[in-house]
Assembly symmetry: C2
């Protein structure tokens, strides 16, 4: 978390986490058996100094002292962290770089930047942690002749107020997960919103993209943790009252949540926090048959037990994440809370799992505050793999492998058909475009009416053709989802990558309403154009 540590300019996370060539080569040999195909020659990324950029189309105005056109800042604000971003960065292609980067230290500076950009017709792309996997922060130069300003909120990273009685905290949008959790921990509190990007992504980014969080049930999205939001629009500040609930018209917060920077720049929010967990119950349940595992997970989702963790990994996913290699499907089950021991909850959950053939050979583990985490078992392996997984993309890119994850949500009654079609379509696309590939599935969140399945695929790349290959496989996945009425995204957002399927999914009158709202609040059309809707339809 130290600020002296440097982030990779082209790949996921900290630069120092990228291993040397020999280590990566060894890793490639290690996973070859599981994947069923061989990595290619190991390559290295270019030095930052070697990157060539087009000249900026605008100069930083004297009035915005926090604005720069320095090449390094432009390079670092070019892409999110999807595979197609990382592979382009790895090859030194930063043609999509913004012209300017601004790092305001106050809301007044955010306002000044918006006013200047509105007046000058400069596009503003709000920038949080830069971890979008859907092209949410990339403004390709060819799309629009206007200059682009990347507005990085990272200096707005304070927890401004903590209200312990109501368990709410006012937090600035630019705070990353660790930075806000550290400040909350001083009060014995936690937000417990842990998207996989937690280490780098920001509260503002989570709100703008409706990030998925820690809780597998009930409080699945950051939406559910939000008491009020404040944003600056070009027409003025948008701030709702801090309320536990309301029925006063359509929810203003729910219109900002998921707005992906097209209506305004989120600057802060009142979030629902809670004491750090005191009681924890965890269990790892194994299933021989996938259908049984799914049925057990459905029963749990409809039980009213509300597990914190209810993540089902298919046997490939379990192997990929070093949870087990015994060929079983694995349900990672957990309860946590600060009020009461959780045995009755876990006992009933394990009964439900057993009803569907699930076994828990090691039994449940119960812990109280202060006890050692004991997470050396399957749950621990999963947690370690979860945090490390995004780094894997850097390595796979260097090994000449394609990789992606995509996720969705669908009613239980349609899940089996969707799953079969995704497996067939994505494997078929990998075969066609790459000669083969690996596909695994897990559930990240579950609801009484359906699961949120999450797929990972890996395939051999043809060097230089990776983006075209990736786009083709992404399209096969998107089409399979659309055919079954599954959402194009449960918690990765829409951005630019998901637009073709989002456009078919969202009700047309809603798109008309959203376009009208955007024209009203952003008359100059400067805010992140191309995301969610086009100004004229």
């Amino acid at each position: 978390m130290s600020e002296t540590r440097e982030r990779s300019f082209w790949g996921w996370g900290w630069a120092d986490q990228f291993q040397d060539r020999e280590t990566r080569k060894g890793f490639g040999q290690q996973v070859q058996g599981m994947l069923g195909f061989a990595p290619q020659e190991v390559l290295d990324p270019p030095a930052l100094e070697a990157i060539e950029l087009d000249a900026p189309r605008a100069k930083p105005p004297a009035s915005l002292g926090f604005c720069t056109d320095a090449p390094e800042a432009r390079i670092r604000h070019t892409y999110g962290r999807a595979y197609r971003d990382i592979v382009r960065g790895f090859y030194g292609d930063f043609r999509a770089a913004p012209d300017l980067v601004a790092t305001p230290s106050s809301e007044d500076e955010v306002r000044a930047a918006l006013e200047w950009a509105s007046d000058e017709g400069v596009i503003v792309v709000p920038y949080g942690g830069g971890t979008s996997v859907v092209g949410g922060i990339e403004m390709a130069r060819e799309e629009d002749g206007r200059a682009v300003l990347s507005l990085d909120l990272k200096r707005l990273d304070r927890v401004l107020e903590v209200e312990p009685v109501s368990r709410t905290a006012r937090i600035q949008a630019g705070a990353t997960g660790p930075v806000l959790e550290q400040q909350l921990a001083e009060h014995g509190l936690t937000l417990r919103c842990f998207p996989q990007s937690f280490e780098f992504s920001t509260l503002g980014g989570w709100l703008a993209t409706r990030a998925g969080g820690h809780f597998a049930t009930v409080y699945t999205h950051v939406d559910d943790l939000t008491a009020s939001v404040r944003a600056l629009t070009p027409r003025g500040p948008w701030e709702s009252w801090r309320l536990p609930g309301s029925g006063a018209g359509p929810s203003p917060d729910r219109m900002l949540l998921g707005s992906e920077g097209i209506l305004g720049v989120i600057t802060e929010a009142w979030m629902r926090v809670r004491p750090r967990p005191v009681f924890r119950a965890t269990a790892t349940v194994h299933f021989r048959e996938w259908d049984d595992a799914v049925a057990a997970t459905r029963a749990l989702s409809q039980s009213g037990l509300h597990p914190t963790n209810c993540r089902l990994l298919d046997r490939r996913e379990a192997a990929l994440n070093f949870v087990t290699g015994d060929g079983t499907h694995v349900l990672i089950l957990g309860f946590e809370g600060a009020d009461h021991p959780l045995e009755p909850w876990m006992v009933r959950a394990l009964e439900l799992a057993a009803d569907h053939g699930g076994t828990c050979p090691k039994g449940p583990v119960y812990r109280e505050h202060g006890e050692k985490s004991g997470e050396s078992g399957s749950a621990g392996a999963w947690k370690a793999a979860f945090v490390q997984a995004p780094y894997l993309m850097n390595v796979l890119v260097s090994l000449g492998l394609l990789v992606d994850t995509f996720e969705t949500a669908i009613p239980w009654d349609r899940f089996d058909a969707l799953h079969a079609d995704v497996v067939k379509s994505v494997r078929g696309a990998m075969k066609e475009h790459c000669g083969g590939g690996f596909l695994s599935c897990r559930f990240t969140h579950v609801y009484p009416d359906g699961p949120a399945p999450y797929f990972t695929w890996i395939a051999p790349a043809r060097r230089g053709a990776e983006v075209r290959q990736w786009d083709a496989i992404k399209a096969a996945a998107g089409e399979a989802l659309a055919r079954h009425g599954a959402t194009i995204t449960h918690h990765h957002a829409v951005g630019r990558t998901h637009r073709p399927w989002y456009d078919r999914q969202r009700p047309e009158p809603f798109a008309m309403a959203l376009r009208a709202a955007k024209r009203e609040l952003d008359p100059a059309g400067i805010l992140n154009p191309g995301v969610l809707v086009d100004p004229e339809g």
Copy 2:
């Protein structure tokens, strides 16, 4: 539930529930002691045939065979069921009557009505159960020169599909609570959305107004039970995909939920249903001190136990509803579910209550499916009073008493100050405008970050001046809420009555966005104008 039974044209509910003059007089004498003031002479409402209406400003078009200008239909569609509606009806004042009433039997007929009205510039007021308490369906003639069509959805009352695996059902908007529950019961399922208006209000009305339901925690609003919504707008149908969850842009459903008929006419929705409860645990907890009762309820709301019922009644509310007259504040606590016995939940809940001085002299009651309801105790008294309460308004009007309820939600940290101010302000207003009055408070729903308090007040009326008196006391209540940042409504909606405070509460850019959306979808401005926003600000 038989359709041969007739609803009161002026008051709440079934006409046959309105007692004779002697019974009402007796009731008045009975409650006099509790209220601290005497009722007036008992009056009777006029006969329906004696009501005089202005001539309709439009004729039913030949193309709409389901449209009428018959006086009785116009009278029955004039008002909601707030006190100010009932008192005007009681005195035979139906000047606000719509010019036409349409009862379409299909979506095609809804579309035809919208097209005709758009072409002719006739205002359309979508009408569900006619139980609005905020002027949501009343289009005063003096406000707008245009003719008004009341569009009654009651013939669209079918459960069209049931999906048992995903526990969802597609239900038409015009189905009332009993009508949809009866159809779901054939499948062993239930929606469990029981607003106090349940007997007469409709699914479409619940969605359009974000009704509050049965569950005191987690699933507090109908919003949380909604998987997708379909509405007809003047620009075409708005239908979201049936999904358990999604992060694809701002939620389209959340923009229709609470839209109060200004964007489109909701025609059906996929709702999340569940098996009828098998296990129930109930308890009645008594507190000597209000602050202790509030602290216990807060602890429960933050416990993660998620009680189904967690309704705190202050001592006046407990007496008014015949729950207890012993001067204690009463917490009605309940858990229910179809999966597992609920002892561990209730045991811990009662420990928390006891930590704050709560006593449960009769102990908790546990029941399984098939056992007698056993609701002869406090919980049963509460339930009976809950359903009957709206009928009380008819009686009080006839006795010359003013009465209203208003509700809100506020963070826990501000509740004490709000409560003190409401008590002072509303009692002060009753004193000033009526010479005195009665005020009680309960919590209908609770959240980890705050309660939803619900207030009831009763005061002596001056006959003929009731609406002015009522408006003055309503204004005192609304101002008290606004001073403390409490929402103007947790689940009664905005309508026309709450506009002054809603306009201060909602963020101005959100109002701009909503106006722009309305102009886009309803270019003729025919849909329920005056509710939520005015077209031009």
